[in-house]
């Protein structure tokens, strides 16, 4: 007789448990992802995946590699972890080609566990990659893209602007104008030839230069294009010579930039022409490759970050981690880009009760857009509605002594241009 009430109690408890269990286990599920773009859901212990799209092959590889290193340094500062989880990088090479960027982005966005993208190196890649990732609801931050097409031109949305794209490299919208202003005002140049490689980055620069130069009263006597990997620059240099340009603005990458310079030095009639390029050639490898041929050549490039103790510390970390000094300071932009991305991920993430982590994709974009980081190593970082987070400031450098290398070049500042934002 005693056993009966006990059995009944047990049955009752079991029934209650059965009723309660789904309620309990469903509790975290009761709040489905409300983010309009969806969520990245990570189970307990699952690492946070970041897709990395950089140019890791070809001449641009060192710059791409520094981008990855900037990200790695930022992660190392956080012990390789974010929100208590390991951060794992999924790295894809674009080969500094738009189609490479597009396909790399496709590959990465196929994985729904990837929280965000970091990249790219080349703006041309970014234009395609950012379109692909934006459609998929991702966010992407670059520490190197500077083509104005990607964000804004003249305070208006640029043609290749995509929602979710942010960068800590300065919009080089003002790079061309800075060079044009210097050429026109300081050097007294009135006739200029511009050579791009058809890529939106170089084209953006030559366009910016041309517009500003013409606005100042100068004349663009030649707009020429060379193809990537073109070796024979004779014809285009003939065109330059024919154009009677006083200045040749060729914001090209290696090796096209090298070829143009070296062959120009050998072209009769171009002995006195002013040679001006941009940040892509502010490289030790370029100086070493061309040597004395570059003496007297001008470069327009973003003003390097101030050598604060914080930057020196990062430099030391770089040297300690990779056993070499950084060849450019673009890794600092990458470091800043990584930090704003990691900060935004922290802000956008919400923890589920069952150890899951959820990152809303729109929430991440919003968090990135709200970035206001006065202590960025490249300067204060505040993202505007177009995704530009760095302030613009450009230096005109002159290579006087190839032996002094890229450091000597960087120090030889001729002109600084800081447009109003």
């Amino acid at each position: 007789m005693r056993a009966l009430p006990r059995t009944a109690a047990l049955l009752w408890a079991a029934a209650m448990a059965t009723c309660l269990l789904p309620a309990c286990s469903d509790a975290p599920e009761a709040k489905p992802c409300s983010d309009p773009l969806g969520c990245v859901s990570l189970g307990p212990g699952e690492p946070i995946l970041l897709g990395v799209i950089e140019s890791l092959s070809g001449q641009v590889a060192p710059i791409g590699q520094d981008q990855v290193r900037g990200l790695e340094l930022a992660l190392a500062r956080r012990g390789g972890k974010l929100l208590g989880r390991e951060v794992r990088l999924v790295i894809e090479d674009t080969g500094c080609r738009p189609e490479g960027g597009g396909n790399a982005a496709l590959k990465l966005i196929a994985n729904p566990k990837i929280a965000a993208l970091f990249g790219t190196t080349c703006s041309g890649d970014a234009a395609v990659a950012s379109e692909v990732m934006s459609k998929a609801g991702f966010a992407m931050v670059s520490g190197n893209n500077s083509a104005p097409f990607l964000t804004a031109i003249g305070g208006r949305k640029a043609p290749k602007w995509q929602a979710g794209y942010f960068r800590t490299a300065p919009n080089e919208e003002s790079s061309g104008p800075a060079a044009a202003r210097f050429a026109y005002s300081r050097l007294g140049v009135r006739r200029a030839a511009v050579i791009n490689d058809g890529d939106i980055y170089t084209r953006g620069l030559t366009d910016g230069f041309a517009q500003a130069f013409q606005r100042l009263g100068g004349k663009i006597v030649l707009t020429a294009t060379v193809n990537k990997n073109d070796a024979d620059m004779g014809p285009v240099l003939t065109a330059v010579k024919n154009s009677k340009a006083q200045l040749m603005f060729f914001p090209l990458f290696q090796p096209e930039g090298n070829n143009v310079l070296l062959q120009a030095r050998k072209t009769r009639g171009l002995e006195r022409i002013v040679r001006m390029s941009d940040g892509a050639l502010i490289e030790q490898s370029f100086i070493e490759a061309v040597g004395d041929a570059a003496v007297g050549m001008y470069f327009v490039g973003p003003t390097p970050p101030a050598r604060t103790p914080a930057l020196r510390r990062l430099e030391q970390e770089y040297a300690a981690k990779y056993g070499a000094s950084p060849s450019t300071y673009y890794y600092v932009n990458a470091f800043d880009a990584a930090n704003i991305l990691l900060d935004a991920l922290e802000k956008a993430a919400t923890a589920g009760g069952d150890g899951t982590l959820r990152i809303g994709r729109q929430a991440l974009r919003d968090a990135l857009a709200r970035t206001d980081k006065p202590d960025g190593l490249t300067g204060p970082l505040r993202c505007d509605e177009f995704g530009d987070c760095a302030s613009q400031c450009f230096n005109i450098l002159r290579l006087s002594d190839p032996a002094a290398g890229v450091d000597g070049l960087k120090k030889n500042v001729q002109f600084t241009y800081r447009p109003e934002r």
Binding site: R97, P98, E99, G100, G102, N103, L106, K107, I109, A110, N111, P112, K113, V132, A136, G198, A224, T225, V226, N227, D230, D232, M233, G234, P235, V236, T238, A239, N242
Partner: protein, 579 residues
């Protein structure tokens, strides 16, 4: 521990033992059934995986085939449009390729769903990301193809394409340039570079053409024989030329970029389908291997349980035998022994089960029977000994009786005092001699004697001495008689001697010897005792009485004649004899 288990087992009833044994056997059967069921389930699961994986692989093949078809159409488009014309190429290759790509997209979406829901491995399911890439790449393929076609159209569409436009400008310029050598030379140079570009697609060639165009413009300007209208027209044409010649390499670069895009797409997508096929194949193989393993395992389990079941059955049989049958057999044997005799010992009860109880009852029974048997023997032995005793006693009695009878018999013909033949015996002997004499003619004689003055001996010495005299007299008579003679006591102190085959004279002589022996013999106490003798012989027609009478008569005469003498009395036909 062992005894801890054995005790309850021993004490359990036979029914319980059988129930336990059969329950365990049933458990073995159930175990086997369970193993088979599990194996079946595993095989079923693996089959589902095989089916799902095969389907997935099939879809991947289809999807891949479709994409390949799209690529073929794309390739054919570029191969064919120069010969069949743009519109036909678009109709024949571009539009179908769009449809094919749509199918690829549908297939890959379906495949994605299938993989998500299929019971396949995590590795294969994780490939869904790849499928997403496959899907987006397929879409991108379509987009890029469309863009490419647009760019190719822009470049090469007959009549309207940039290349044709350039040719038109070129031919118009030719018309102007060929009028003068100064203009014709740079024109030809320009065209040569332009042709060179069309073959090599190297931008410097086009740049050289542009440079030549620059020279041509200068030639037109400097040429004296050129009208201002011609100069203006040539300038406009050269502007167009420059615009087109700059645009064409741009479009070419864009086209090359698109083609490179396809290469990258293929690079991204081809391993996916290959990987999916490999994974699905691997899945099928794994499932097959699983089936094989499971089958092997289940066979092993079944065989093991079978063997174990067999062993267990044997064990159960052994246990049942040990705890039931053996005991029953022992009991049966014991009962046989019981039937044949008495068993040596008790049956071991060994357990408290039914057999144990039966054994205990058997033991009671044995005790009882043993008791009965033991008593019976004792009684038989007792009776036997009693009978033996009675028989012995009887035998003794019989023997005694025989002896007594014999003694009696002897007593009936013997004189008690002297041990000589008594009167009856003498009469019988005389009768027998008479018979013999009558039959064979043999004669016999008798001697009758009487102790002289016996009365005076009795009187003088008493009866005891008298008897002793009689006894000694008898001994003397027997000692001195012939062996064939019968000596008997005739009564009182008279003795009769029957002497067969003798005549009277022999007998008289014999009587004389006896008389003399008496005379010589000294009797105890009595001293010398004499006897008187009367002898006679049997005559013809004699009977016993007659003979005795004659002997008696002779004796009487001896007495008369003074005693201690022998007198004969022959038969009537015989002369009397004196001794």
């Amino acid at each position: 521990m062992r005894s801890g288990l054995l005790r309850p087992w021993r004490d359990a009833g036979v029914t319980t033992k059988f129930a336990l044994a059969f329950a365990l056997l049933l458990a073995m059967v159930l175990l086997e059934g369970l193993a088979s069921l599990l194996a079946l389930n595993a095989v079923h699961k693996a089959e589902t995986v095989i089916i799902a994986s095969t389907e997935i692989r099939q879809r991947v093949f289809e999807m891949d085939g479709e994409l390949e078809k799209a690529r073929r159409l794309h390739r054919d488009f570029f191969l064919q449009y120069p010969s069949i014309g743009f519109a036909s190429a678009e109709e024949l290759y571009f539009k179908p390729s769009t449809e094919v790509i749509n199918r690829v997209v549908t297939l890959s979406e379906e495949l994605k769903r299938r993989i998500e829901s299929a019971p396949v491995s995590a590795a294969l399911r994780e490939r869904n990301n790849d499928l997403t890439l496959y899907l987006s790449t397929a879409r991108r393929f379509a987009d890029i193809f469309r863009e490419l076609v647009a760019q190719v159209t822009e470049l090469a569409a007959p009549g309207t394409g940039l290349e044709d436009q350039l040719l038109i400008v070129e031919s118009r310029l030719e018309a102007l340039a060929q009028k003068q050598t100064a203009t014709l030379l740079p024109f030809r140079k320009m065209v040569a570079f332009q042709r060179s570009y069309m073959v090599s697609r190297r931008r410097p060639d086009m740049q050289s053409a542009l440079n030549a165009a620059f020279d041509l413009r200068a030639a037109f300007k400097s040429s004296a024989g050129t009208s201002p209208e011609t100069r203006a027209r040539a300038g406009r044409l050269l502007d167009d030329y420059a615009r087109l010649a700059q645009k064409i390499p741009d479009v070419d670069v864009a086209i090359r970029s698109k083609l490179n895009d396809f290469t990258l797409q293929a690079k991204a997508v081809d391993p996916i389908s290959a990987n999916l096929k490999t994974l699905a194949t691997g899945e099928v193989e794994r499932a097959r291997a699983r089936i094989q393993t499971v089958s092997r395992l289940s066979v092993a389990v079944i065989v093991v349980t079978l063997i174990a079941g067999l062993a267990f059955s044997l064990l159960v049989a052994a246990v049942i035998h040990a705890s039931v049958t053996r005991k029953i057999v022992a009991l049966t044997r014991w009962a046989e022994q019981m039937r044949d005799g008495t068993p040596a010992a008790d049956v071991e009860p060994d357990a408290k089960d039914e057999v144990g109880v039966l054994a205990a009852r058997f033991n009671d029974m044995r005790a009882r029977v043993l008791d009965l048997v033991t008593n019976l023997e004792d009684k038989v032995r007792q009776r036997t000994s009693e009978l033996t005793e009675a028989r012995d006693r009887l035998e003794t009695l019989v023997r005694e009786l025989d002896e007594k009878n014999r003694a009696l018999e002897i007593l009936s013909v013997t004189d008690r005092l002297t041990g000589l033949a008594n009167r009856r015996k003498i009469e019988e002997a005389m009768q027998a001699e008479l018979e013999r004499a009558r039959r064979y003619g043999k004669s016999f004689s008798v001697i009758l004697l009487d102790v002289d003055r016996f009365k005076s001996i009795n009187d003088a010495y008493g009866h005891t001495v008298g008897d002793a005299v009689l006894v000694q007299a008898a001994e003397l008579l027997v000692r001195n008689s012939r062996r064939t003679d019968l000596v008997g006591r005739w009564g009182g102190e008279e003795f009769l001697i029957v002497c067969p085959e003798t005549d009277i004279s022999v007998v008289a002589a014999q009587a004389e010897r006896h008389r003399k022996e008496f005379e010589r013999f000294a009797f105890t106490q009595a001293g010398t005792v004499t006897c008187s003798f009367g002898v006679t012989a049997c005559g013809p027609g004699d009977d016993a009485q007659a003979i005795i009478r004659r002997a008696d008569a002779a004796l009487y005469r001896a007495k008369d004649k003074g005693r201690n003498r022998v007198e004969s009395q022959p038969a009537a036909d015989q002369p009397p004899q004196n001794g």
